[in-house]
Amino acid sequence: MVNLTINGRIVQAKEGEMLLTVLRREKIDVPALCHHEAVEPFGACRLCTVEITKEDWNGYSNYVTSCLYPVEEGLIVSTHSPKVNELRKTILDLFLARHPNSPEIRQLAADYGVFKTSYETVVDGNNCILCAICTRICDTMGFHAISTVGRGHGKEVAPPLHQVPPDCVGCLACALNCPTHYIEYTFDNNYLTIWDKKFELMVCSRCGKKTITKEFAEYLSKHRDIPFSYFEICDECHRKELAATMGQITSWEREA
């Protein structure tokens, strides 16, 4: 256990824990757009930046991203110092210039008092904030279907060579976790399309409810040692089946 001071309050934390985890636990509101617990911290959005210092730093302080900073004994943290707030405002201002149409960005910026960008609006700026949550989740799940490509201001998220991604199984994790809901997908009858790839959906053999994609089911069955038949009926019909089986057993018990 280590002791640190956050906004004047003494807080305990586990060794090796990241500062942001502690801030969240203590219900201190620090914005974070590139953070997702399923993947390693990344440090791209810089919104979670806080000011840190220590008793013996002689008044010197440093700015660090709390998502990546391991807690230390004696750390003195301010999460909303004037400089930190100014930095967050600047970042949100820059975001607004690039993603003027993103409701999520606009909301967050408004929370920090930024309603209109003070910079030049980037022509054809889309809503992808390049947090790489999608690609990192995809990598962590083991698919590596999409990645960030290019560098500098022209960086983007895309499948390899901008082609239909061969390794995508259509799990939708990228799209569902995108903080700005940038990744598009469509359901059409028994099909799902994402990254221009069309997937057939599993259909419950009893009630006809659609579940995950066939490719995802096949992947899980093959790599995770789960009988494929499990995927052939939906959760509700699974429960009904269990009720019927247990009902049968109970009725035998009653007779006995």
């Binding site: 440090g43 990546l68 391991p70 400089k83 100014e86 970042i91 980037v122 390049l130 560098r151 201001h153």
Partner: protein
């Protein structure tokens, strides 16, 4: 021959010396990047054929050396004749026979090939007497220009591998680190971190393995010191790395070479093979139980890959994106193991320090900045090329003595150091001693050693715009302050250069710069605004001229200038054809006019006019 103990190295050294003593005269042909580009290879080939044909007594092909960069690239191809130091510049293939006939056979000097000092307009025979050389202090670059590239015998004859032998036979790892610490060596890759301290930290981390990496990414535009070293003196880099490995306990090393340096890769690879063969690298070095292997890793061609954490990711085969360094790479670097990363030049310093001792080294330079630093001096100076000076040498000495002053005696305006992370220093800083601390204090940086001299025809807004534009593309694009912040800073400088900015924009730029500096993840973003901030700091007037008067004093920013033909025009018609938009009209022997509507301000007419009749305003 494989060397199985240190004694064999000594014996070999003596044998080489005895052999080389017999060679009285040497012809050194510079095969550095500059001279090669100007045809040095053809000269070498010619020398070889002529020497074979002519059979000169006491003179064989062995006396011909294909050396690394001699430094004075703009005078190349260079041919130097030892022992006298006779120095021929701009040599052509057709001069080769003459050189052999007159200078080799008959010790005669060929006047037309001598260097002409532009300041005194006198011919100089020996290179030691040329100001470009006489004000330099060659320590690290000493072998360059003197020995055959990739020739281990030459390297050993020049005391090569004595340091490694000393380390292995008589020093403990701790003692090596202490020596380096005492020498005061600071990393030559830019930040100037004390090398001894870095090694000591790395050594202390317990791990199954440690790594040593040499940073040969050299991404600063215009810089080529590391390239010259890797190509011209690869063994010194290998020896330095091997000593570092001994000190920190590493068994594996990597040299990360920038993609654009194929010759460096070839020469390093050759050197690694030779060193392995000789038992100076690989398993059981010099018969001891110390083993160290080096692999070459080829860069991904991105500036940001020179940044330590991005470089390590790239070596490991991942995308070269920096990561936060709250846990430093000396503790958790390549493959999460403790890793020492140093610049090429840093490593090349190491054998010299070990051989000559820390106190000897300390005496060069200034107390907190010992040793020398190599620079590539480019821009509007008379003498451009690769130079090495003692730390603490003033900018004035470098620019006016070594560099020979500004071309056409124009006024000096600024010098840019440190590449895209550095800044521009004005004339008032000419007496600044060049070292890590003074440059930082003045708002620039040492960087890896690029030095660009600018005259009054350079617009500082344009310079800032250029570097920011470079960084907008070269930023890895991971973090927002750098990716979006530098983009907006660039957009604002464009606005200034187009005369569309307001005074408030200047303050906006300064504020945004500060946020980019504190907010960015890696050194690229953290130093990216330097070129802008330093030019605003020292050349505020020039910014104001763009903003308030809509005027570019240097006549560079296209939107703010007009080309006009004055009565000096002789009506020679030379400018009519080059104009891409046919904006110039005029009859022979009559004054021409430029149609301002059509003029795109490309400057093509200005460049061809022999009568200075075109006025930029």
């Amino acid at each position: 021959m494989h060397l199985d103990n240190p004694q064999q190295l000594i014996d070999w050294h003596d044998k080489i010396i005895a052999k080389q003593k017999k060679i009285k005269k040497k012809i050194l042909v510079c095969c550095g990047p500059g001279c090669l580009a100007n045809g040095a290879q053809d000269i070498i080939d010619k020398f070889k054929t002529v020497l074979k044909e002519k059979k000169i007594s006491g003179f064989t092909v062995e006396a011909l050396k294909e050396t690394g960069c001699h430094g004075f690239c703009e005078q190349g191809p260079l041919v130097v004749m030892e022992p006298k130091g006779l120095y021929y510049t701009k040599v052509k293939v057709k001069d080769v026979e003459d050189i052999i006939e007159q200078s080799i056979k008959n010790d005669k000097i060929i006047d037309r090939l001598l260097y002409n000092d532009p300041q005194t307009d006198k011919k100089i025979e020996r290179y030691q007497d040329i100001k470009f050389y006489s004000h330099q202090k060659k320590v690290v670059l000493n072998n360059l220009g003197n020995i055959n590239q990739c020739n281990i015998e030459d390297y050993i004859a020049n005391d090569g591998y004595q340091a490694l032998s000393k380390v292995i036979t008589s020093m403990s790892p701790q003692k090596v680190i202490d020596t380096i610490t005492k020498s005061g060596l600071r990393g030559r890759g830019g930040a100037g971190f004390p090398t001894g301290r870095k090694w000591a930290t790395c050594r202390k981390v317990e791990s199954d393995t440690h790594y040593v990496i040499c940073n040969g990414d050299e991404g600063d535009p215009g810089a080529f010191m590391d390239r010259a070293l890797m190509e011209g003196d690869p063994f010194s880099v290998l020896e330095g790395m091997t000593i570092a490995a001994f000190a920190v306990g590493a068994k594996q090393g990597y040299i990360y070479v920038r993609e654009e340096y194929p010759l460096a890769v070839v020469n390093l690879q050759k050197a690694i093979e030779i060193a392995n063969e000789k038992g100076l690298l690989g398993d059981n070095i010099l018969g001891t139980d110390f083993s160290f292997n080096i692999k070459i890793s080829r860069g991904a061609g991105a500036f940001v890959c020179g940044e330590s954490s991005a470089l390590m990711k790239s070596v490991a085969g991942e995308v070269g994106e920096p990561r936060a360094k709250y846990v430093r790479s000396v503790v958790k670097g390549l493959y999460d193991r403790p890793t020492v990363l140093n610049n090429v030049e840093t490593f090349a310093n190491v054998p010299i320090i070990i051989r000559k001792g820390a106190s000897w080294y300390q005496k060069i330079g200034t107390p907190k900045n010992s040793g020398t630093k190599a620079f590539s001096l480019v821009g509007k100076v008379r003498n451009t090329g690769l130079i090495e000076v003692a730390m603490g040498t003033t900018l004035r000495e470098i620019i006016y003595d070594i560099g020979g002053g500004i071309i056409d005696d124009r006024p000096f305006k600024a010098v840019q150091t440190g590449g895209p992370s550095g800044g521009c220093l004005p004339a008032s800083k000419l007496d600044l001693p060049v070292d890590f601390d003074s440059l930082n204090e003045a708002g620039s940086m040492m960087g890896s050693g690029g030095m660009i001299v600018m005259d009054d025809l350079t617009c500082m807004v344009d310079v800032a715009k250029y570097f920011l534009g470079f960084l907008v593309n070269e930023s890895c694009g991971k973090c927002v302050p750098c990716r979006e912040g530098l983009y907006q800073l660039h957009a604002l400088t464009v606005k200034v250069s187009e005369g569309k900015a307001e005074e408030a924009d200047l303050e906006k730029m300064e504020k945004l710069s500060e946020m980019v500096i504190i907010g960015s993840l890696c050194g690229l973003g953290k130093s990216g605004p330097n070129p802008l901030l330093s030019t605003i700091k020292y050349f505020r007037d020039e910014y104001m001229a763009h903003i308030r008067d809509k005027r570019c004093p240097a006549g560079v920013c296209r939107a703010l200038i007009t080309y006009k033909i004055t009565d000096a025009c002789t009506g020679c018609m030379a400018c009519i054809a080059p104009c891409p938009t046919n904006a110039i009209t005029g009859k022979k022997n009559e004054m021409h006019v430029i149609d301002q509507e059509l003029c795109t301000k490309c400057g093509a007419c200005f460049a061809v006019c022999r009568y200075d009749a075109i006025l930029v305003s």
